[in-house]
């Protein structure tokens, strides 16, 4: 039975990659020109302005941040934003993964249309998103709003509305991360699991979830960054009811227009810091993805 030819002790790379070639030498002037152009463009458009916010925030040391955190409005707005973001992320996690599975693994009429519609929240004006939700869920004249209000659930001008608006805007992020990974994975492994006796639930948890784990993590982090900062849609849905439903980005606007610029910069800095932190987390996680 033992056959010598099968005793390959040295694992071979099944997909030998071409050795990475150094970039082809271009004309140095062109290379440097492009490099400089790109760096300058990004510096003036993104880096410098962003760093100025940090500078303005810390113009007086930590006083700015301290002062902002002493303001109960700020604390309330940050808490609200945090809660909303977490809720929206959880909703998008469940439905995002569900819809990604639906789009990749099942065939049904209207799939192409649904696929195209997934991107709508990314390209629709946040104001339109807010308006749309108001029209349906408003307690006064919405389609479902009055009935929901009758059930004791106020959506618009309250937390559920803010969460819905945020979930709407961030919905594609999880789906768009998970779909390509699912497609790439194929359903071979899932079929193999089924032929070995696993039921749908076991297949999902033991095979599918480990396969899309990292994609889900990126999706969630991006979703979190986006959810914390959503402004337009939330503003429309939250209305101007004052402190109760003011999220952090709305507070920035209010404080800035009330000439409390230091507070505005401080809150902005915290939001920006959270966003950049999310990006760094994603950037650090990416290389850990198992290479194919």
């Amino acid at each position: 039975m033992a056959s010598a030819v099968l005793e390959e002790t040295r694992p071979r790379d099944p997909h030998p990659r071409a050795t990475p070639r150094p970039p082809r030498e271009g004309h140095p002037a062109v290379t440097w020109g492009l490099r400089l152009l790109v760096v300058a463009y990004l510096f003036f458009l993104v880096v410098w302005p962003t760093s100025l916010v940090a500078k303005n925030t810390f113009a007086n040391g930590f006083d700015g941040i301290q002062g902002a955190l002493d303001d109960p409005d700020v604390v309330h707005a940050l808490t609200l934003s945090g809660q909303v973001a977490v809720a929206a992320v959880l909703i998008n996690l469940v439905f995002g993964v569900g819809m990604a599975l639906l789009l990749v693994r099942f065939d049904f009429p209207g799939k192409r249309v649904l696929n195209a519609l997934i991107d709508v929240p990314l390209s629709v004006s946040p104001v339109v998103v807010g308006l749309a939700l108001v029209l349906v869920y408003s307690g006064r004249y919405g389609w479902f709003g009055p009935w929901l209000e009758g059930q004791g659930l106020q959506v618009v001008f309250a937390k559920p509305g803010i969460i819905m608006a945020t979930a709407f805007v961030a919905l594609p992020l999880v789906i768009r991360e998970v779909v390509p990974v699912l497609e790439d994975m194929g359903d071979d492994q899932e079929q193999a699991a089924r032929s070995l006796g696993a039921n749908a639930w076991q297949t999902f948890w033991r095979i599918t979830v480990p396969g899309i784990k990292w994609a889900v993590v990126y999706g969630v982090v991006l979703c979190l960054a986006r959810s914390l900062g959503e402004f337009g849609a939330v503003k429309v849905v939250a209305g101007n009811v004052g402190g109760e439903s003011t999220t952090a980005p709305m507070l920035v606007q209010q404080k800035y227009q009330n000439f409390q610029q230091e507070t505005a910069y401080s809150v902005s800095f915290m939001l920006a810091f959270a966003a950049v932190l999310c990006l760094i987390v994603v950037a650090l996680l990416r290389p850990k993805e198992p290479k194919k």
């Binding site: 082809r24 790109v38 195209a116 390209s123 946040p126 104001v127 339109v128 979930a167 227009q257 966003a275």
Partner: protein
């Protein structure tokens, strides 16, 4: 599916229904309103301008990120995503810090059309870079080398070989960038000053309608934006399918 309907489909349908409810009258009034028209024109024209700029700069940035090597490139790669992750209101504040009244370089662009342009350029920066980058990474160096071995200069290789390969990705990114541009709101609130006829964009105009309780007019304008955004998505889809067929 039900959730998607409740969250996305039904509300969007409501917008269209609402705008149709008032009959063509409201629709026509809202659209022919001089202030609204000015806002629409500013929004669309600026978005076109920014998209054109992005098509050039986005491609160059993607090129440098993929093909060039220098210290700090990883940070540059991270910087690209900042406009996407930053809350829009913060984006506005960020630009105000450099190009506003307290500008350390003395550029005072706040409340001008340049500010609108800047804000849209800021928020749409990642789109083309991020669609072109993967295509460029997958592109086989062999093809370029083959072109070079056949006597093509670097410029000819770029124009005849590389650009056609990248074109679908550039256009796809452009559609996204344009759709995002016409719908931008948050970053403009603080930066543009929202001066009617001069720097007021469509989203701000809609909000004005809304705050005045005129949901019908707001819905009408929203429908126009939706149509434009949908057109952009359809174009994107058509291009993607054409690419798939070719490949």
């Amino acid at each position: 599916m039900l959730w998607f309907s409740l969250l996305v489909l039904i509300p969007l349908a409501a917008v269209v229904v609402k705008s149709a409810e008032g009959g063509w009258g409201t629709f026509a009034d809202a659209v022919t309103n001089r202030q609204t028209f000015a806002a629409l024109r500013l929004t669309v024209l600026t978005s076109v301008g920014v998209t054109a700029l992005n098509m050039v700069m986005g491609t160059i940035i993607a090129w440098v990120l993929v093909r060039d090597r220098f210290p700090g490139k990883a940070i540059l790669d991270l910087v690209i995503d900042i406009p996407f992750a930053l809350p829009t209101i913060v984006a506005g504040l960020v630009l105000l810090a450099l190009y506003g009244p307290t500008s350390p370089i003395g550029v005072h662009a706040a409340n001008t059309r340049l500010a609108v342009f800047l804000a849209i350029a800021f928020v749409t920066l990642p789109f083309i870079v991020r669609t072109v980058q993967p295509v460029l990474e997958e592109m086989e160096r062999d093809v370029e080398e083959a072109a070079a071995s056949l006597g093509a200069s670097r410029f000819t290789t770029f124009r005849r070989i590389i650009l056609p390969t990248l074109a679908p990705a550039i256009f796809a990114g452009a559609a996204l960038s344009f759709a995002r541009g016409i719908s931008e709101y948050g970053s403009l609130v603080l930066l543009s000053g929202n001066l009617p006829y001069r720097t007021e964009v469509t989203s701000v105009r809609m909000l004005t309608y809304l705050e005045g309780g005129d949901t019908a007019s707001a819905a009408a304008v929203a429908t126009i934006l939706l149509v434009v955004a949908l057109l952009a998505i359809v174009t994107l889809d058509v291009i993607q399918r054409r690419v798939a067929r070719r490949g």
